[in-house]
């Protein structure tokens, strides 16, 4: 199978959906000629023109608001929010407006829009350009949240998001834009709420989102060398969450670590760990462990930044202890 980058996968998904449905349009800062600072959208304006690939002023709440209104009245906007950190600026439009219209109208209004943004630290971009804020959005009923872990997921999930009748927020890891993965030439969609078992194992379940899937897979390889068989699962969407697949795995392995790059406290990892505790308690041999980013603003200095995020070594250490029956306290 051919291999393409995550960036190309996103680009293809958007192009295909724009060809298929002329109500789909794209909006954001420097999305047209510049194709975004990450060059993810390069070439789209050439094919679809500036009517459907719209450069906006630096007015995040404004253009997200416009997307909500356009979505409520028959369009399918895709908004590009240049950095996930700017989610804070658009919270009202996203959480009070987009998320609630369907419910507040008793099901009469819909907001079929996609907000694509990014996440992920270790790019030396300091505290306001490095955050992983998926938990904030996942907390709000009415919003769906996808977290692609490779080019394959990025394409399939984005196409599903564009066709979904709800507001969907997609977090792409900005360090993965140039990472390649096999992606079929033929069209495919990845349904929401279907986790992917990336690697089978019997001793411990590593549940990981986005780039943390790579961390978990590396950890699983290292653990295999020590005779510990780790199962790696990528939920792919955290809202909706495929609880069944996670529970099935944990019931088999009886141990789990949940890894996500958001801050560890009050985060995605806590939610998943809690559901496993509630629904698989009698199958567990050890407490479900959370591994998130350290509870500090992301520091600039590389020596500090690198220790704020989960690493394969850290996962291995925790997995080893869990399997040995040692008590560990989440950091």
């Amino acid at each position: 199978m051919r291999e393409i980058t995550l960036s190309q996968a996103v680009n293809e998904a958007i192009a295909e959906e724009m060809r298929r449905d002329d109500t789909v349009f794209l909006m954001g800062e420097d999305v047209a000629e510049a194709g975004t600072p990450f060059k993810v959208l390069s070439g789209l304006v050439e094919e679809f023109g500036t009517e459907r690939v719209i450069d906006t002023p630096i007015s995040e709440p404004g253009f997200v608001g416009l997307a909500v209104g356009a979505a409520m009245t028959g369009a399918r906007p895709i908004v590009d929010l240049m950095f996930g950190d700017f989610i804070y600026l658009v919270m009202d439009q996203l959480c009070n407006q987009a998320a609630k219209q369907h419910y507040m109208s008793g099901g009469k209004l819909t907001v079929p829009m996609v907000l694509r943004t990014n996440m992920g630290a270790t790019r030396r971009s300091a505290a306001q350009h490095s955050q992983s804020l998926q938990a904030l959005v996942a907390h709000i009923p009415g919003l769906k949240v996808a977290m692609p872990s490779s080019a394959y997921e990025a394409k399939g999930l984005l196409k599903t998001a564009i066709r979904d009748n709800n507001p969907v927020v997609i977090f792409e890891d900005k360090l993965m834009y140039q990472d390649k993965a096999p992606v079929p030439e033929e069209e495919y969609l990845i349904p929401f709420g279907e986790a992917h078992v990336k690697r089978e194992g019997s001793d411990i379940t590593l549940i990981a989102t986005s780039s943390m899937v790579q961390v978990a897979e590396k950890a699983a390889e290292m653990l295999a060398a020590e005779g510990i068989n780790a199962e790696v699962i990528d939920p792919r969407t955290i809202v909706p969450l495929d609880e069944a697949t996670l529970l099935e795995s944990v019931k088999k392995t009886s141990r789990a670590i949940v890894i996500d790059e958001g801050h560890q406290s009050y985060g995605v990892t806590a939610e998943i760990a809690s559901r496993l505790n509630e629904k698989a308690f009698y199958h567990l041999d050890a407490p479900v462990l959370r591994m998130g980013a350290m509870d500090v603003p992301v520091p600039f200095s590389p020596v500090l930044e690198d220790i704020t995020v989960p690493t394969p070594e850290g996962v291995v250490e925790n997995a080893r202890k869990l399997c040995a029956g040692e008590m560990i306290h989440a950091a």
């Binding site: 450069d55 630096i58 200095s301």
Partner: protein, 325 residues
């Protein structure tokens, strides 16, 4: 050029400060190109007269808020090279102990409230600083630096309204360098930017941002008036950035022509213009100016070497400063 100051030392200091900014940026760019600096950075080169003209009209108790393109404001508000280069390299002795880096660099002890990586993110902070000055009967003034692109942020209109209602001592200084990232200002700004401030009853001025004396003269007047409770004010400073949006923005002809860049550099450079004026007015000789330039160059080289050899913060600092004591 207009005459703003009569004191030779002030003129020479303004010149030196502009050269210090240019020299700092040239060295920062080198650090990036030689992969010694983590991350990216936004160069201030070309816009020196704006930061210097304004900050030379301020005292240490006056405050500023800075932007992602903040090295120039930082130098102009009194920072030293050593701590600045340390910050760029993420070292312990940096102004922010390596926690901020280029986009948050600031010498707080001289009234710099920080460089902000959120476009328009400091507009509330600057206006709040001015509110505090008024509430506490203090006569300091706050200057809020931001770019043309930042005028698209709704926050600005909210805070201008309050600043005007309450006559706050804040000066909004819009550095209009013609672009926000890869987009021309006219494509993202409808109508007139000065008229937007005027709509709130705020006096607005447009000034040649490549003329340090013009910038300084206007700022002095506005600061004096703001201290007396006649603010707020708005200044639009017409200027130009020489480099790309950030150091990695090399191939940029698709949005900005080489001819245009050449024209600004060759015909409107703020340092070259001021230098000729200094010589023509007999304030300094070419030889004296060359000696100043050389001294600044040496300072920068030494500061870079110092920063390269300096220590990184201890890893135990990672969860320090999340909360104040």
């Amino acid at each position: 050029m207009a005459k703003a100051k009569t004191n030779t030392e002030d003129y020479l200091r303004m010149y030196a400060q502009m050269v210090r900014i240019r020299t700092f940026e040239d060295n920062a760019n080198q650090l990036y190109l030689s992969a010694k600096m983590p991350g990216l950075t936004h160069m201030y080169s070309g816009e020196e007269a704006v930061a210097v003209g304004i900050c030379e009209a301020l005292t240490d108790s006056d405050r500023i808020t800075s932007t992602h393109r903040g090295h120039g404001h930082c130098v102009a508000k009194g920072a030293e090279f050593g701590e600045m280069f340390c910050e760029l390299l993420g070292k312990e002795e940096g102004y922010c102990r390596g926690k901020g880096g280029s986009m948050h660099i600031a010498d707080q002890s001289h009234g710099n409230l920080g460089a902000n990586a959120i476009v328009g993110g400091s507009m509330g902070i600057a206006t709040g600083s001015a509110l505090r000055a008024k509430l506490q009967g203090s006569d300091d003034v706050t200057v809020c630096f931001f770019g043309d692109g930042a005028t698209a942020q709704g926050l600005w209109y909210e805070v201008m309204n309050m600043a005007a209602l309450w006559k706050l001592p804040v000066i909004y200084a819009c550095e209009n360098n013609g672009y926000s990232e890869y987009t021309k200002t006219e494509e993202i700004a409808a109508g007139s930017i000065t008229a937007r401030a005027e709509a709130f009853g705020i006096e607005a001025f447009t000034v040649d941002g490549q003329d340090v004396l013009a910038v300084n003269e206007l700022t002095q007047k506005l600061v004096t008036r703001a201290r007396k409770g006649e603010g707020p004010f708005f200044m639009e400073l017409m200027t130009y950035r020489y480099h790309g949006h950030h150091v990695g923005d090399i191939n940029r002809e698709y949005y900005r022509s080489k001819d245009e860049e050449k024209d600004w550099k060759e015909n409107r450079d703020p340092i070259v213009r001021f230098r000729s004026w200094l010589v023509a007015e007999g304030i300094a000789t070419e030889a004296e100016i060359e000696a100043m330039n050389a001294e600044i160059e040496t300072d920068a080289t030494e500061a870079v070497a110092y920063a390269e050899a300096a220590h990184y913060p201890d890893v135990s600092e990672v969860d320090m400063h999340v909360y104040a004591d």
